[in-house]
């Protein structure tokens, strides 16, 4: 009897010793981030006799934890990186090249150019990050509110002029939300108290032909004070000053604006693809399926500006630390997570868009008319350059855009005041990029 027990114990121990462990850090990308990720990697664990340990880092602490791991050499095998962080962490020289992983998944042609740019430090021949999922912006609108105002959505979101004209018609409309019995604000957008101040402004800057930073004689410089950037910024900010954006929105953050739209307070607002999934999930599980807004949800791309149609393209990539003890196995996990099947599964869990283009043909995405708009919008997606010092650029841009939003809230924004602020922002950014 005891011999049988001993042999069973030894067998279990040998299995335990043979089983390898991979550690992965992710951020809260879905409603139940740890459970969802464990379910996602379960087939890989079974096939490779490996245990994947997942740690969920809140976005607020993720940067500090990841840089601490990079500095100390103590951390996970694989970590999720926001696309704008790839340049900085790559510049630290702590990431393993992933060209072979990307090649196995189809290479450059498998991704949109905007996504491919986020795989490395700008100008580097070596890829250090695998695109995982994309976060891009489009406009959500209330179909019932637009219908009541006599607005054709495809016309309203055609170009900047028709967009403003549509907002003017929504302002004049007497439509009230059936639940709240209140009139809807034409356009809700957060002001300065939001983590994505620059992401909200960037599509308008690009649409006017401007840029956040540009290369001049091989050196990166701020372009926020160019006439094109100022034109785009002024158009966007002046929509609020003209009264299309409710004054109270300017003090709120992105989550509060999303909540306002869900609660039936806004006719139009910009957000990412996750809202589509939330519209199908009951409130008890973090969605808003019961609300009128969910039953009257429409999606449209950003309107065409004087120099084209653009949207902000963000999201997250996966990177392998060079201090990992299981590099080959970790690369296998990356190949698995980058595969079309895993990409679609995770998109279903998170409501985000897969980074791999072929995954967009899945029925969950292609068969959903709202998600299809995001796929179309992705063609106009644009990313920030993957610079080592991007954090500083964004920090200074956000600070000065915040001051511009202050002027908007006080109805004191003029083209001269905006130029003055963006001149200051550019001087500071250029100094940071020295």
């Amino acid at each position: 009897m005891w011999k049988k027990a001993l042999s069973t114990l030894l067998f279990a121990l040998s299995l335990g010793l043979a089983q390898r462990t991979l550690e992965v850090w992710i951020m809260p990308n879905s409603a139940q981030p740890a459970e969802d990720f464990k379910a996602l990697v379960a087939p890989f664990e079974r096939a490779n006799n490996v245990q994947v340990k997942v740690t969920v880092l809140d976005w607020g602490v993720a940067w500090t934890r990841i840089t601490a791991a990079a500095t100390s050499g103590v951390g996970p095998d694989i970590t999720q990186l926001g696309t704008t962080w790839v340049g900085a962490i790559s510049a630290m020289g702590v990431l393993e090249p992933l060209d072979d992983v990307l090649q196995a998944l189809g290479g450059q042609g498998a991704y949109l150019p905007a996504v491919w740019n986020t795989t490395r430090l700008a100008g580097s021949p070596r890829a250090t990050a695998l695109p995982w999922f994309s976060e891009l912006r489009a406009f959500y609108y209330r179909t019932d509110a637009l219908r009541a105002a006599g607005i054709n959505p495809s016309q309203m979101f055609a170009d900047w002029q028709s967009f403003e004209a549509g907002l003017a018609r929504l302002t004049a409309s007497t439509f009230t939300d059936p639940e709240t019995k209140q009139r809807l604000a034409p356009f809700c957008t957060p002001g300065k108290n939001s983590w994505d101040v620059l992401h909200n402004a960037a599509p308008w800057i690009w649409g006017a032909g401007g840029e956040v930073v540009r290369q001049v004689q091989g050196r990166w410089q701020s372009a926020l004070n160019t006439p094109e950037s100022l034109q785009g910024l002024f158009f966007f900010l002046s929509l609020a000053q003209k009264g299309y954006v409710p004054a109270e929105s300017l003090e709120k953050n992105t989550a509060q604006i999303e909540a306002d739209f869900q609660a039936g307070k806004c006719a139009v607002f910009a957000s990412g693809p996750w809202m589509i999934q939330r519209a199908q999930v009951p409130e008890a599980q973090g969605g808003f399926a019961e609300r009128v807004a969910a039953r009257n949800l429409g999606v449209a791309p950003y309107p065409i500006g004087p120099r084209g149609r653009y949207t902000f393209f963000g999201g997250s990539n996966l990177a392998l630390f060079s201090f990992s003890k299981n590099k080959e196995l970790a690369k296998e996990l990356l190949k698995y997570l980058g595969s079309p099947e895993a990409q679609v599964t995770y998109a279903r869990m998170s409501g985000l868009l897969p980074a791999l283009r072929t995954a967009w043909n899945a029925p969950e995405i292609h068969g959903n008319p709202l998600m299809r708009v995001f796929v179309q919008t992705a063609q106009f997606g644009r990313t920030y350059p993957s610079l080592a010092g991007w954090g500083g650029v964004e920090n200074l841009a956000v600070q000065h855009l915040g001051m511009a939003w202050d002027l908007v809230a006080q109805k004191r924004l003029t083209q001269e005041a905006l130029k003055d602020l963006m001149d200051k922002a550019s001087a500071a950014i250029n100094s940071a990029l020295r």
Binding site: W195, E251, Q399
Partner: protein, 308 residues
């Protein structure tokens, strides 16, 4: 011989103090010295892996902060200095005045005095980051404060923006005072109760007015505790961070010219810009500035702090 006698007399006491001293050296002075040293290094994201082995640049970081007009560290710095000094002045004046006033009120035999003390103390037990978060919601244009002021009490013609523009200053001062005065009140209350009643009785017999009793008995007795409360308050307000950080988009947003304090400015310019050498140098400068203020404080209250 003298050393032996000294050891014989005080040795045991030093042995008892040694663990605490060692702990303080390790936990307090170690990191502080390391921070000061970091101010002499070119420590940024690209050199972060080297940590204390990052290139030594001498006083370059200090030169940049103090004399380089192009330095990104100067962005919003003067506004932050002005707002922090005003914030420290207004917050401490209000917390000390309110604390003293309510301590006097609660030092009398009132009905349900114990319950009153407990209720007044409640804001003090709320963590400062929760205070920032809650008041951030309350200050919203359609928040509870504007509803009360405009819709219920009709004190203002329209709802103002508390989190944008100059009113931001009030929006950060009031929650700090709300959270800070109960501690001042309870400290003053304890000090008031320690003043011998005989002094007041003798003064009454001599015909002293209530103001004279306060001026010549209460206030001199409260000066030592006022000194400590002022020091505590000054340090708290000069290094204040949580309330502003939480109130404006959890650090994501720029609090504006009237909301940005030295610490939030330092945080943004260090961790937002990924420039830790400059940040460490600026922290050292702030520490020196605070030490100068403490020197003034010590000169003002030196006599009150002498052991009696």
């Amino acid at each position: 011989m003298a050393l032996f006698r000294f050891w014989q007399r005080y040795g045991l006491a030093y042995l008892f103090v040694a663990p605490a001293l060692l702990g303080m050296l390790l936990v307090h002075y170690g990191p502080m010295l390391q921070g000061i040293y970091m101010g002499f290094l070119d420590l940024k994201l690209s050199t972060l892996r080297l940590y204390l082995g990052a290139p030594f640049v001498g006083l370059a970081n200090y030169r940049e902060i103090l004399f380089d007009p192009q330095s990104t560290f100067r962005t919003g710095f003067l506004y932050a200095v002005r707002t922090t000094l005003l914030y420290a002045l207004v917050v401490n004046a209000l917390t000390l005045s309110l604390g003293l006033l309510f301590a006097h009120v609660l030092n009398r035999p009132l009905f349900l005095r114990g319950l009153g003390r407990t209720l007044f103390l409640l804001p003090w037990v709320v963590p400062s980051y929760v205070v920032g978060l809650l008041w951030g919601f309350m200050w919203l244009k359609n928040g509870v404060i504007n509803t009360l002021l405009v819709d219920v009490l009709h004190l203002l013609p329209e709802k103002p923006h508390w989190l944008i523009g100059p009113l931001t200053f009030l929006a950060i001062v009031l929650p700090t005072v709300w959270r800070g005065w109960p501690f001042v009140m309870v400290t003053y209350l304890a000090a008031l109760q320690a003043i011998p009643q005989e002094l007041y009785e003798a003064a009454k017999v001599d015909g002293a007015t209530p103001w004279q009793r306060f001026r010549y008995i209460t206030w001199p007795s409260l000066r030592p505790v006022t000194a400590i409360l002022l020091l505590y308050g000054l340090l708290g307000t000069l290094y204040s961070f949580n309330i502003v950080y939480m109130m404006f988009g959890h650090g994501a947003g720029y609090p504006g010219e009237w909301g940005d304090l030295l610490m939030t400015n330092l945080f943004r310019n260090t961790f937002g810009m990924w420039n830790f050498g400059l940040g460490a140098a600026a922290s050292t400068l702030y520490m020196l500035l605070t030490l100068v203020l403490i020197l003034f404080w010590y000169r003002a209250f030196r006599e009150d702090l002498k052991a009696r």
